[in-house]
Symmetry: C2
DNA sequence: ATTATTTTTTAGGCTACTCTAAAAATTATA
DNA sequence: TATAATTTTTAGAGTAGCCTAAAAAATAAT
């Protein structure tokens, strides 16, 4: 059984490695966890000893199969709870994260299976991120940032990167929610700002904003 | 902010003191927490320093107003989550406790208020125990064990003491659920076993069972 | 290629919570 | 009331997770 701290480190490693596809550096992980590199080195040793990650001194960390499964099951819990908070308790989009961070550490497979059933087996959370099944399997759709979408092209919003609360509120305001259709009307070359249409509503967005909206084409 | 461990000790103290009405001994608390007396002494000092309990050496612990409020807010969370698990996720009666023990430590007033609203402002949990309001106020009905009920008298089941899982299953089987009517038909003097009627069903119960069923008259 | 910079690791220490063993205080017994 | 038994507290130590400061390794720059 993993401790709360071990779970948090493992999840951070999984995300930083982009689903286990690249190595994660100690400093990078330390920053993500808001701890010092020395503490991170300790935890890396612990997680390696449990065969969740592989670790090579001065090189970095790679996620092993066992660690990937554990991370995906935590993510599964996180996303199911987020869905619950938004759909059943009427949380707004920017309120869910903090609470879901706590709920994801509740240990009970039975609870999560029942919750999933109660929610009607959702395949994506309110951000549009896919929810792994109980075996940790994940369906990944190819996603690109709106900043990389050509003029005239359109896509379906699948997610927004939840970097900060203010951005989330802004995206909410312009209607940038998962599931909605989006079309690029024009682009200003010198600063990559764009005119886009979301649900028949025309908005101007800077590149800082457009790159945080992810779509499938 | 209290740590998870502090919350658990405080809750145990509150329950052992029967809602703050009597002093709690160190050994008693140690046993309830499954720790040793030495550890308990340490924690008692910590909680006293935070002015949640009062503490007199070699005498015991009393709950202070601040501690009582904190305990009641934890109990509020516990009972709301239990209600959620049973009513929304279809947990059986004996499955809820372990999970609710974890959920009660999630820190978010907003979450609990929303959950309460979602559940329709229930006044009692599935065991029949009253749910404190958001200010920690509790409505207490006078309750007695069925073992103390005279022959011919009847009452409404308000709670069962959840001592062990087997007992809970048995009580469930004989229909001893909160809200149901119960009547004492006869009593055997030499061992205090009783014949009782629950919802038109006649059952024989030993004193060990009857004392675990609480009713209001 | 040697020096400087950055990154990572080691060494040692702190806090929260736990323990065992021994000392102290209280309560029961003879 | 003096002794025995019990309860509680203190003393000292271990683990998890965190820190700072210094050493070591890798990388960059001259």
């Amino acid at each position: 059984m993993l401790s709360l701290t071990e779970e948090n480190y493992l999840k951070a490693i999984y995300h930083l490695s982009q689903g286990g596809t690249k190595a994660v550096l100690t400093n990078e992980l330390a920053e993500a966890m808001c701890t010092k590199a020395a503490s991170t080195t300790d935890m890396i040793k612990k997680l390696s000893a449990k065969a969740l990650i592989s670790y090579e001194k001065y090189y970095g960390v790679n996620v092993l199969a066992k660690g990937k499964l554990a991370a995906l099951l935590i993510i599964r819990k996180h996303r199911l709870w987020e869905t619950f908070l938004v759909e059943k308790l009427n949380f707004t989009w920017d309120e869910v994260h903090e609470v879901a961070e706590q709920l994801e550490h509740i240990h009970s497979v039975h609870l999560i299976d029942k919750l999933e059933e109660f929610l009607g087996y959702p395949t994506a959370d309110p951000h549009g991120d896919p929810i792994p099944d109980r075996k940790g399997h994940l369906k990944i759709l190819p996603q690109i940032g709106v900043d990389q979408l050509k003029v005239g092209y359109s896509g379906t919003i699948v997610a927004v990167k939840d970097s900060d609360s203010n951005l989330l509120k802004y995206l909410d305001k312009i209607g940038a929610k998962p599931g909605r259709k989006l079309k690029v009307v024009s682009r200003e070359e010198y600063d990559d700002s764009m005119e886009i249409v979301i649900d028949d509503k025309k908005v101007f967005v800077s590149k800082d904003v457009s790159k945080n909206i992810l779509v499938t084409v």
